[in-house]
């Protein structure tokens, strides 16, 4: 409840200050961007966030919004993790207990896919999950902004997963085993005859993975945040004569919480599976 009132207050403030203009970027973007379209945010409504409230919408600092909030998330998790790790005890306090619960839940989830390989890949995949989850949820925090509404951020995450999967493949299968895997793991004559067909197919499939990861996360979170923003604007324009609005967006907060979690989960799950596919095949058939 506090959440949406803060949003409303933010928007109400934004309505009165000329420099804190609420961007309806369709009109706004065209006014000062001219014909050159930024690319990432083609259209849609954006809520005011911390950077645009402090510096104003025309400031250069707006280019750094996504990076800023991504860093906020990263620093938050670093502080949480180091605090718990420095003061870890045999009998955990409430905070340590909570963190252990998160890590253990993540471990069990990944264990169901990777099996005994889990420990090696848990740090990367678990971090990925919580990082993406926090970034997605940041769009619903007052004066916050989801960095995952930027294709740059999601693309960098998915390229990282792609490179890590390839590295895992070369490391675990060996250079020849890696090529053998790309040739469709041929075992008999028919398999070797299919190699010219399978090789480009596998390479295209491998290259398509980071694209689909990045676009899925970007599209889902952008859609969800735009939905919330549009309903806030609607709620405000209903009572345009007064400084308050109708909280029409509240049901979509719950939808947003659910969808953000599912998208973070799907990203992690697919990364896990891409890594699993690169592991030696005999080991994971359990």
């Amino acid at each position: 409840m506090l959440l949406h009132y803060a949003h409303i207050i933010g928007l109400a403030l934004a309505r009165f200050g000329p420099c804190l203009l609420v961007a309806v970027s369709g009109e706004h973007g065209e006014q000062h961007e001219g014909g050159d379209h930024g690319g990432e945010h083609g259209g849609g409504t954006h809520l005011p966030n911390l950077i645009s409230m402090v510096f104003g919408y025309d400031s250069v600092w707006n280019d750094w919004v996504n990076v800023f909030f991504a860093f906020v998330v990263a620093i938050f998790f670093t502080i949480c993790a180091t605090t718990v790790y420095r003061r870890r005890r045999m009998i955990p306090g409430p905070f340590q207990n909570f963190m252990e619960m998160l890590v253990e839940g993540m471990y069990n989830f990944i264990y169901s896919i990777l099996g005994k390989e889990t420990k090696k890949y848990l740090p990367f995949l678990g971090t990925l999950f919580f990082y993406i989850l926090a970034m997605n949820w940041l769009g619903m925090v007052p004066f916050g902004h989801s960095p995952s509404t930027s294709l740059t951020i999601t693309a960098s995450l998915s390229i990282m997963v792609f490179l890590y999967a390839q590295y895992t493949g070369i490391r675990r299968l060996g250079a020849l085993g890696y090529l053998h895997h790309f040739a469709g793991s041929p075992r008999d004559v028919i398999g070797w005859c299919m190699v010219p067909l399978m090789f480009p197919l596998h390479i295209i499939a491998e290259l398509a993975k980071p694209f689909s990861l990045a676009l899925r996360l970007f599209g889902n979170i952008t859609g969800e945040d735009t939905l919330i923003a549009v309903f806030i604007m609607l709620g405000i324009s209903i009572l345009a004569f007064s400084p308050v609005g109708v909280p029409l967006q509240v049901p979509f907060y719950f939808l947003g919480l659910l969808l953000s979690t599912i998208q973070a989960l799907v990203f992690t799950l697919l990364s896990t599976i891409y890594i699993l596919l690169m592991l030696p095949h005999e080991e994971y058939e359990h």
Binding site: G26, E30, H37, H41, G42, G43, G44, S112, I113, S212, L215, R216, F218, G219, N220, T222, G223, I262, L265, V266, L269, L270, I273
Partner: protein, 77 residues
């Protein structure tokens, strides 16, 4: 009809058509998963994981259309 009105008509329509397809697909996937869980409740975890992966692949198609819509909506003006 100039290209802007053509885009203005076609872009939302494309999202709608894509949503019909994914709706049918996800409906089938989730329906079958529920059936499977009803038949074998002890395998619920594995079925759910597989279902979420499948649903993600299905709805990714709508998301691609949505991204095309975002790109096109900049040109409608």
């Amino acid at each position: 009809m100039d290209y802007q009105s053509a885009l203005g008509l076609a872009a939302p329509l494309a999202v709608g058509i894509a949503a019909i397809g994914s709706g049918l697909g996800i409906g089938r996937a989730v329906g079958s998963a529920m059936e499977a869980i009803g038949r074998q409740p002890e395998a619920a975890g594995k079925i759910q994981t597989a279902m979420i992966i499948g649903a993600a692949f299905i709805e990714a198609l709508t998301i691609y259309v949505f991204i095309v819509f975002i790109l096109a909506s900049g040109k409608i003006g």
